[in-house]
């Protein structure tokens, strides 16, 4: 098969992709940057299956009985958080900046998640007025670059997320190529128009966990102890990172697996840094439990979550909620088969596009080009996103009911079996059929 003029030969080392990559670097003199997520193949959620009720459990009537989905994040410390984030479903929108996304996409996502009784998030670029207006609940993300950080915006937020890492590119800062640094984006970020914005990775006024503890209190003082404060971490040294995060006094931890997407990241980061979410959830839950913080600090997970069954699997392994990015963008129309010439101009096609970094998104989502942006109608887009969330929750509650749960938060590791050795080792879930768990004893291994 030829790809960009290359044919895959017999070498597994010098594949056509590797050869093409070296040729590009030799021409450009820099590493490759792209959007979307890792192209590596990891054990996935498909390597876990649910065990519905048969003789030893009673299933719920799928079409008649109710399965509760209400989710509260930041409700564990009533003396510190007056308004926890209350969601109708255990899914909210991950932080995706205005800048990476266009205005219409932001509005559509806000509308869609609001219609589903959930929340959206600003991302790194500051609070867009249109997004605030479109979102019933909006999380304000504070990144090291602090673009557009404003006291009044913090006070208008329903939660504050301090970004310390992103699964797609842990240990590095934001990246927004000049094609997207439009006048509006430049103004919000106080940047010269058209620069290739490479953000810092360290926060300017705290370095370690002790300082962060003080910083969290500062944010509480500034916002009058109203809203919860989350920390977003990339999944790396999960046990220790989560324990230290708990000690900072935050209200929730968002753990982003290496499958997490990006609008632009160095490809070497995307494919080589951080660990898959499936390997992180159980360890994170155990870390919180070890400190006796379950119920006080919520665990939210993200990265590569595609459908309602993935959501249910995350909850079963110990997450209190999940956050999604790519699947919401796909619901909005990402990679949909329209405007074929524009995909072709990027050298790609519907289903294969990963070109968010170029600012020339064929469907008008990850762009600042006013003409391309018109391809997203916020009303229609919002409805699509809301319908996708409804379908996702039907899957999530459907599988939970078949397992016999009246509340999706009652799903547990015992409801799962692994169909691969790796999935068993990563999750501590027994292998299907043999009831034998690969991996460390603390996760159930024997």
């Amino acid at each position: 098969m030829t790809d960009h003029g290359y044919t895959q030969g017999r070498s597994h080392i010098w594949t056509s992709d590797t050869i093409r990559d070296i040729h590009a670097k030799a021409e450009l003199g820099r590493y490759q940057i792209r959007g979307f997520s890792t192209f590596r193949q990891f054990p996935s959620w498909d390597d876990l299956v649910f065990l519905p009720a048969v003789m030893t459990r009673l299933p719920l009537e799928g079409y008649r009985e109710h399965c509760e989905t209400r989710t509260i994040i930041g409700g564990g410390k009533p003396d510190l958080v007056a308004r926890p984030l209350e969601l109708d479903i255990p899914i909210y929108l991950t932080s995706m900046s205005f800048g990476a996304l266009g205005t219409n996409a932001k509005i559509a996502l806000g509308k869609g998640f609001s219609a589903a009784g959930s929340a959206s998030s600003t991302g790194e670029g500051g609070m867009l007025e249109e997004e605030r207006a479109a979102s019933t609940k909006l999380i304000y993300q504070m990144t090291p670059s602090r673009y557009g950080l404003d006291l009044e915006h913090l006070r208008k937020a329903d939660a504050i997320e301090i970004a310390l890492g992103q699964g797609a590119k842990p240990g590095t800062g934001g990246l927004l190529l000049g094609m997207k640094v439009s006048e509006k984006v430049a103004k919000m970020r106080t940047l010269p128009m058209g620069v290739d914005q490479r953000s810092c990775v360290r926060h300017p006024d705290f370095l370690g966990a002790d300082d962060l503890q003080v910083k969290i209190i500062e944010l509480r003082e500034a916002t009058d102890y109203q809203v919860p404060i989350f920390l977003k971490l990339a999944a790396c040294r999960v046990e220790y990172d989560v324990k230290v995060a708990c000690k900072t006094g935050c209200d929730a931890i968002l753990l982003d697996g290496t499958e997490g997407a990006t609008a632009a990241a160095p490809e070497y980061q995307l494919d080589n840094c951080g660990i898959p979410l499936i390997a992180a959830v159980r360890t994170a839950r155990r870390a919180i439990e070890d400190l006796g913080m379950s119920g006080k600090i919520q665990l939210v997970v993200s990265g590569g979550i595609r459908n309602g069954v993935d959501v249910a699997k995350c909850l079963a392994l110990g997450a209190d909620a999940v956050a999604i990015g790519t699947s919401a963008l796909i619901a909005l129309g990402c990679n949909s088969p329209q405007y074929l010439d524009d995909y072709a101009a990027l050298g790609t096609a519907p289903g294969a596009c990963h070109h968010c970094h170029t600012g020339r998104c064929p469907v008008g989502i990850t762009t600042q080009d006013p003409e391309l942006e018109k391809r997203i109608d916020p009303e229609v887009g919002g409805e699509r996103v809301a319908k996708f969330l409804r379908a996702t929750m039907m899957e999530c509650t459907g599988v939970a009911k078949s397992v016999g749960k009246r509340n999706v938060h009652n799903l547990e590791p015992e409801d799962l079996r692994a169909t691969s050795l790796e999935a068993s080792a990563f999750t501590g879930v027994p292998l299907a059929g043999v009831e034998w768990t690969v991996g460390p004893q603390y996760l159930g291994g024997r």
Partner: protein
């Protein structure tokens, strides 16, 4: 909590419960002068305040004093810890002694005056306003400063102005080393007069010969400006 206006409200930080809230309420009620005694280097004093009004701390303060300030005047008689005036959008902060790391980090407007020295990362990610340091600044001062003026009457440490965006750094003393993409340029007479005017407004007299540090702009762009170059991946 509703409060009535007084000529000067005196708060004791030893009785610190919701101190910031009490200050905000007092200003909303019309009080224009607040004095806080016994700050004892406590963290998060004077956070999220607004104007109009002046808050004076008799002593030293800890981290994030005047953080997210939105219009208040905050005067600290002695020294301050990390992140003084971080993300301030307007108002004025004056520190009588020294400041530690990250003074004025990501501030967007207003003025900060430090009578002594500042630690590292002064004005990191600053996005506007004026930050005047009468003494010296530590390493990485002006790191990724987007806009505004960092004025240093004394010396500057290593890596000054690393990865600058469009901010200006003015140094009267010695510069231990410039950061990546920072260059020294000759200020014009009008620019020097403007900076001396800012100093005079803060009661800092004297004629300084400032070196102006700006971005060389080599880090503003990846080498390739050709959009096609991004399609090879």
């Amino acid at each position: 909590m509703s409060q009535s206006a007084t000529a000067e409200l005196v708060l004791d930080a030893d009785d610190g419960h919701r101190l910031n809230r009490r200050m905000r309420d007092a200003i909303d009620a019309g009080t224009r002068e607040i004095r806080v005694v016994n700050p004892r280097s406590r963290h998060n004093l004077g956070v999220g305040q607004h104007g109009p009004g002046t808050i004076r701390f008799d002593g030293s303060v800890g981290y994030y004093c005047g953080g997210l300030n939105n219009g208040a005047e905050i005067i600290v008689s002695r020294s301050a810890g990390w992140g003084t005036g971080e993300a301030m959008s307007s108002g004025r902060i004056e520190i009588g002694g020294t400041c530690a790391l990250g003074t004025g980090a990501s501030m967007r407007g207003g003025t900060i005056v430090v009578r002594g020295n500042c630690g590292p990362r002064t004005a990191a990610n600053m996005k506007g306003g004026t930050l005047i340091v009468e003494g010296a600044v530590g390493y990485l001062a002006g790191f990724m400063t987007h806009a505004g003026d960092l004025i240093v009457c004394g010396d500057a440490g290593e890596a000054l102005g690393d990865s600058l965006w469009a901010g200006n750094i003015w140094v009267a003393g010695k510069i231990a080393g410039l950061g990546a993409d920072a260059v020294v340029v000759e200020p014009t007479d009008e620019e020097s007069a403007r900076i001396h005017g800012l100093l005079a407004a803060e009661g800092i007299d004297g004629t300084f010969t400032f070196k102006k540090v700006v971005a060389e702009r080599k880090l503003w762009y990846f080498d390739a400006r050709d959009p096609e170059a991004w399609l090879k991946v």
